[in-house]
Amino acid sequence: MIRQLPTEVNWTLAGIFAVLVLSSVLLYCWRRLKPQADLAEMTARLRTWWVIAVLFSLAVAGSQAFAVAFFAFVSFLAFKEYLSLIPTRRADRRVLFWAYLAIPIQYYWIYSQWYGMFIIFIPVYMFLLLPTRAVLIGNTDGYIRAMGTVHWGLMTAVFSLSHAAYLLNLQPVESGRISPSWPSEHAIEEPGPGLLIMLVLLTQLNDVAQFAWGKSFGRTRVAPDVSPGKTVAGLVGGVATTVVLAMLIGPALTLMDWQRSLFAGLIIGLGGFAGDLSISALKRDLGVKDSGSILPGHGGILDRVDSLTYTAPMFFHFVHYFYF
C-alpha cells in the first residue's frame, strides 16, 4: 500500500529535490568554469545527499512496512558502526548478538503501533536483559564499562532514532491537550509524514545554520575541548534561524500552530546542538575523525544522524504531549 500524501507534504518534497537539482547545476557550472578546482569532496557529498533524499522520500511515500524497515536498517548501520568503533570484550559476543536482536523487535513494536512497549522495551527490558546475559558468561573484568557502552549505543542508535519512525504512524486522539490546526483536509488522515519531514528537514537545516553562523561570527567557543568549531554566536544564530524556519514551516506542514512550532524549533535547535556535540565527544574519545566511511563525503552513519539522535525523541515527545 502506498501512502496518499497530503499536498503540502508533496510540495515540501518537491522543494527538497528542487534544491538538490539547483545544487547539482551550480556544481556542474562551477566545474566547467574552473576545471582546476578540486570538487571531488563536494561532488561526493552532493551525490550522497541525492541517495539519502531519494531513500527518505521513498520511506515517507511508501508503505508503512517499508518505512519501518528503512529506519530499522539505519539503526542497524549506526549501531554496527558504533560497536565496530568502541572497545568491546571478546567474551561479550553473545551479549552483542542479543543487543542486535533488539533492533527488529523495537521496530516491530512500531510497526504494530504498540506505544507502551515501544517506549519501555529498550530502557527497561534490554537494560535488564543484557547485563543478565553478560553475568551468565561470567567475565567481570571491565563489566561496568562494557554494559554502559552497549546500553548507550542501543539508546542512541536504536531507541532514539526509532522515534522518527514512530512519528510517521501517529494518529491523533480526540482527547489531546490542544486541538490540531490542520494544514489541509488530507492531513487529518496522514499527520505523520508532515511531522517527520519537519523534524528531519529542520534538524539538517539547523546543522547548516549553526555552521554558517559560527563561520561568519563569533569567537567565544562553547565547548573548546569537544568541538573547537562551535561558537556562542553559531549556537544563538543557529537556534534563532531554526526557530524562525519552524514558525514558517510548522503551521504550513503539520498540525501544530505557530506557538507550538516555535517551541518545536527551539527544541530542535538546542537538541541538534547537543546531539552533534555528543557524537563529537565520542569520536574524540576514540581518536577518530569520522565514525565511518559508508556515506562518501559525509563520513559514517553516526556522523549524519548525530543531531537526530537528540532531536527525534525530543521532538516526538513534545508533539506527543500536546496532540496524541
Binding site: 554496527k80 560497536l83 565496530s84 568491546t88 570484550r89 571478546r90 559476543r93 542486535y100 565511518g292 559508508i294
Partner: protein
Amino acid sequence: MNHVLRYLFFVFVVYPMTLILIGLNVRRRELLPQAGPALIVANHNSHLDALTLISLFGLKRLRYVRPVAAADFFLRNRLLGWFSTRVIGIIPLDRAPKGTRSDPLAGIVAALERSEILILFPEGTRGEPEQLAEFKTGVAHVAKRSPETSVTPIYMHGLGKSLPRGEALFVPFFCDIFVGEALHWTGNRGEFMDLLNQRMESLAAEGTFPDWN
C-alpha cells in the same frame, strides 16, 4: 566447479552477508588485479575471510577467483568436500605432504597457468583472531614457480570479531580491508618474504582498531 550453483550461492547468500550484514570498508579497491594469473595474499582470522575476499571481485570475475584451502580440514567428509570444491571452488592444499613424489603445489601452479586469481593465507591457519602471525614460505615457492604472477597483499580486520575460530554464532561488525601494491618474485626467497611481510605490516599499521580481548 558447478558455476550455476556458485553464482546462486554468491548472489543470494554471500553478497547479502558481506555487503549488508557485515559491510566492507575497502581502501584502494583499484589495486585489486583485473585479471590472472594473480595471487591475493591475506591475513587469516575467520571462515568468512575467503568468501569476503572473493566477493571483492564482483560477479564478472567470480569464475576466475578461487581460494586455496587446507585439504585436511575442508575435505574431511564428503558433503563438506563437495561444497568446498564445487560451490566455493577451493583448490585443496595438503598442509603436511608425506613423501616426495607428489607435488603439493601442482594444483596452485596449474590454476595460475589457467590465468586464475588465487587467494592464499600464508599464516596457514586462522589462529588467534585479529593477530597477525608470521607468514609461511609456501607463497615464495609459488611465486618462484610462476614468476609472471602478481602478488597482492591484503590486510583485513573485523571478521575475526564477527566469526572467530571455534564460534558458530555470527555477530555483525564492519570489516576493514586494506589493499596493498602488488609485488613479483624477486629472485630470492628471503628477500621476497621480507618484502611481503613488510608490506603486510605497513598495511596493518594503517588502521587504528579498538581493543578486543
